[in-house]
């Protein structure tokens, strides 16, 4: 465990009461390896550790706390600072019907999350509408319809010749006509470097006023999490993030990377394949998980 490893490093400075440069460098090397093994982005690790080193040097070690513990606390607090505060709900007030668009890479869990979100909103007495915005993936519409049926939530699917922006526009009308107050748009998975598909998302934005753009990311994403998230954010925009497959054992460094580079809060955690497997994201718990 990290605390023990740091205690060993700082054993040599016991009684000195001050963490000095040499043993801090050794501890920094250890934490660097731990963070990179946890998939935190290389450049972010560099910046984070520069801050940690600054804070650790010259700090008096409180008698009741081992220097290892003191060091871990500095890192822990720095990371919690990056992750931001806990869950604060979705912005569902400024437009009616409130419209949320899910975006992200292929296979990240968007369609499943759309279903989970619908369940979550129903529990809060909303009347959601799911919109089948993925016209490319084989049986994508079928998948969303099946999920909708299982939770008794209507699914709007366009005619076969409609583009996603058109489908979304018509879906909004359908929502209004049927007094459905929240519209959840599922979109096709896409690479952030696919210009026409990224533009498609902006076309959807032109057709419907969005309350939230929700970026769905896989918790096991590696170093590219930074480029992926920042490109989605710069080209389309994102307001909220959902991290999926947290029921696995990926350390989830991508969470830190995504928050660091976009500044957008991670609000949801996908913790399984059932539509009830949705939790509010806990930043502090994520930090402990990343630190391993």
């Amino acid at each position: 465990r990290l605390t023990e490893r740091f205690d060993d490093i700082f054993q040599k400075i016991k009684g000195q009461g001050i963490i000095n440069e040499k043993n801090v460098d050794e501890a920094i090397r250890e934490i660097r390896i731990a963070l990179l093994e946890a998939d935190v982005n290389y450049k972010i690790v560099k910046e984070l550790l520069a801050k940690v080193k600054e804070k650790a040097l010259g700090r008096k070690v409180v008698k009741s706390v081992s220097p290892g513990q003191a060091f871990v606390k500095i890192i822990h607090d720095e990371m919690v600072n990056i992750m931001g505060e806990g869950f604060s709900g979705l912005e569902l007030e400024k437009n009616k019907p409130a419209t949320i668009m899910l975006v992200g890479l292929q296979g990240s869990g968007k369609t499943t999350h759309a279903g989970k979100l619908a369940v979550y909103l129903k529990k809060k007495y909303h009347r959601p509408l799911l919109v089948a915005g993925d016209i490319y993936r084989p049986a994508a519409i079928e998948q969303l319809k099946t999920l909708g049926k299982s939770i008794d939530v209507p699914v709007y699917a366009g005619d076969t010749d409609m583009s996603p922006p058109e489908i979304c526009r018509e879906a909004l009308k359908y929502a209004e006509q049927n007094s459905l107050d929240t519209v959840i748009i599922d979109t096709a998975g896409r690479l952030q470097i696919d210009e026409p598909l990224m533009e498609e998302l902006n076309e959807i934005k032109k057709e419907v006023t969005l309350n939230e753009i929700l970026f769905v990311a896989d918790a096991m994403t590696g170093q590219e999490a930074v480029n992926i998230a920042s490109t989605f954010h710069n080209k389309v925009g994102m307001d909220v993030v959902c991290l999926t497959k947290l029921d696995g054992d990926a350390r989830g460094g991508a969470a830190l990377s995504i928050k660091y580079v976009t500044g957008k809060p991670i609000k949801f955690a996908g913790t399984g394949e059932k539509l009830s497997d949705l939790e509010e994201f806990h930043p502090e718990r994520m930090v402990s998980r990343i630190l391993g």
């Binding site: 946890a38 296979g107 990240s108 896989d218 590696g222 590219e224 480029n227 029921d247 350390r251």
Partner: protein, 277 residues
């Protein structure tokens, strides 16, 4: 890198950054860089271009023997395609089926995912695109029962190849790993050597967790091949180097897109070149 004129510490740092950012893994990357420092000294490497070649050589050496082409040594030749959720198993089966059909093979695609919404419908569309025979049972049928019947049919009707799609499963779910083992046992009841290939599909954008995935799946059902998908994205899939180094499971293909022809045989040389682009 391009502007560098000398082989110095800064250049080695840059190489380290490239390797780590490719998801190769921090400890393997540090080991390679350390080794390269020694070699550069011994071989008196002074040009940055030369150093780059040295790095490529080293990684190519680590990937020696990593390429694999499946040879249908018996009939029907059975593949289990497994992996965690959303990596591209179903899509890869469609692509692979199409490739074998182009080669004149008679291919059966089996809907072993009887759990996820519209999994059977999705695979059916791929089977049609690929010109393969499609075999499925109703949703929630025990996947082992699906395999049992499918293999009996494939054997009886003289299929060359059977591609079995399975539900995505996290390697942390013991009961789902048991389900795979049961599918394996049941397959052997029909065809003693089946499955002839157990292929794990990995997403190129996955970080260090790929190691845990391969380790655990391999412990429960010995893997004979790996496929790395979504290499058309910006992730380099550097984890493949550590995976091959640690588990010696060869890589047969890479996925480079969402269309039926977007599958390539794995080339270690091309892979290493791409790592440094």
């Amino acid at each position: 890198f391009k502007g560098k004129k000398t082989v110095d510490d800064e250049l080695f740092d840059e190489m380290e950054a490239i390797l780590i950012q490719s998801d190769l893994g921090v400890t393997p990357a540090l080991d390679i860089v350390e080794d390269m420092r020694k070699q550069a000294r011994e071989r008196k490497v002074r040009e940055p271009g030369q150093l780059l070649e040295l790095f490529k050589e080293e990684i190519l050496h680590l990937l020696e023997g990593s390429e694999k082409t499946y040879a249908f040594s018996s009939s029907p030749f059975v593949f289990f395609v497994i992996g965690v959720n959303g990596v591209g198993k179903t899509t890869t089966i469609g692509k692979l089926g199409w490739q074998y059909v182009q080669e004149g093979k008679r291919v059966m695609i089996v809907a072993g995912d009887t759990f996820r919404a519209a999994a059977v419908e999705q695979l059916q569309i791929w089977a049609e695109r690929a010109g393969c025979t499609f075999f499925s049972k109703p949703m929630n049928t025990d996947p082992s029962a699906v395999i049992y019947e499918a293999l009996q049919k494939a054997d009886k009707e003289g299929f060359d190849c059977v591609l079995v799609d399975t539900a995505g499963r996290l390697h942390t779910r013991g009961n789902l790993l048991d389900e795979l083992k049961k599918m394996n046992r049941v397959a052997k009841k029909v065809i003693p050597d089946a499955p002839h290939e157990v292929v794990i599909v990995l997403d190129a954008s996955t970080g260090q967790n790929a190691l845990a995935q391969v380790k655990t799946f391999h412990e429960h059902l010995p893997l004979t091949g790996m496929v790395i998908t979504k290499l058309d994205g910006t992730s380099k899939g550097g984890i493949a180097v550590s995976l091959y180094h640690d588990y010696n499971i060869p890589i047969s293909h890479i996925g480079i897109g969402e269309e039926v022809e977007d599958l390539r045989e794995f080339s270690a040389k091309d892979f290493v070149e791409a790592l440094f682009l």
